[in-house]
């Protein structure tokens, strides 16, 4: 899953740094993720993982790191 997340980030997050250099806990906002790009990222993740993020997950914090994204997705795909 992490690789797929990195792939989506590479394509849609428009970060200032190479995605591969980021650890799972690295702050994506500090790496240049803007609010505009966050929405594109959310849409792309919904498509990639065939999920719909509920409103309660649409927070900066849910997308602040690769690990946070992974845990949000895990929660959605668990059931």
């Amino acid at each position: 899953m992490i690789d797929q997340i990195r792939g989506v980030l590479r394509q849609h997050a428009r970060l200032a740094v190479d995605v591969d250099t980021l650890s799972a806990d690295a702050d994506l906002y500090a790496a240049g993720l803007t609010s505009h790009a966050t929405v594109n990222l959310m849409v792309a993740l919904e498509n990639q993982f065939d999920v719909e993020f509920p409103e309660s997950m649409l927070r900066r914090r849910s997308f602040e790191s690769i690990a946070a994204i992974q845990s949000a997705l895990a929660e959605l795909t668990a059931g």
């Binding site: 240049g32 929405v39 509920p54 409103e55």
Partner: protein, 388 residues
Amino acid sequence: MANQTSVREALIERATKVANDVAAKHADDVDKRARFPVEAVEALKQAKLLGIAVPEELGGEGATLAELARIGGILAGACAATGMLYAMHQIQLLCILRHHGGQPFFTGYLRECADKQRLIASATSEIGVGGDVRSSKCCIVRDETHFTYEKQASVISYGEFTDDILGTARRAPDAAPSDQVLVLVKRDECTLERVGGWDTLGMRGTCSYGFVLKARCPLDHILPVPFADISSQTMHPSSHVLWTHVWLGIATSAVSIARKYVRSEARKNPGVTPPNALRAAELVSALHTLRGSIAGAMHEYIERYDDPDRLAGLGFAIRMNNIKISTAEQVIPIVNRAMGICGISAYRNDTPYSLGRHLRDAHGASVMILNDRLYGTNAQLLLISKED
């Protein structure tokens, strides 16, 4: 206590007195000469209305958001520029109040705001970021004790007349554009080089010139919370709540002038309802609808005020953008219709029913953050948000 809806009539009376006795008297001159409403601001300081949001334990009066909004509207009805600068000042104060994290410098500063009635301006906009306040080019550069801060501010409203400035910057030289902090710059810690003028259709007294801001301040002037949080919890919603009340104040004043005109017509011929009385009745209905929607948006904010998670939700951001857009779309037609009721008396600039200034000021509502920009943001957010 910004998270409450109560309104103390004594505060409203103090504001009404400043509005009627001072702001209204100078409004035409402020507008004609595009000058700072110095008399009204001095009167606000005398009446201790600038620092009222500071909590009582720090020497203020713990004004609620509802009180600040009402006062902004009352002032705007007399002089739109005064109302707008009052709103802008309170937005800065609310950001500090909520996000100072108990730091001694800021608690001391808040005491000073209550005691000395300091006026705070905002330096969020910057040349080269395309109007996006959540993005900065400039950064702060820290040394052991201080930071330096240099910003090409496309606009600092009343910057030439303010006591202090609250501005955004990237957190550090290597920080991303969206990785921002909010810093307080006191007037004696900075130089402001004015760039360009402010010759606009309306809102002429806000004197929103561009500036090159250069400052060196102690490190404790940096608010200890990322600007991303300050923006979603306080700056963005309180801006829309307070601005919309300013525009509502302009609309209310225009409608009140139209009603006065209809009453004067009615008195000329008692027993016969003047034809434009119907137009006035329609207009009052439109005004009350607008007032209701603005109050509704404010209450949604107050209701979530202490829940940062719900404030950070996309649905709430969309809601706040919408109240700004819809108010801007309604306020101009309302002033137009008031003008239609008073006819030539409103069109002339020299009658008690003149509405030219109201009309020009009202147009500021749709360009002060362009409606289309907010529609664009909402269009994007709605691709992902599911909230009704």
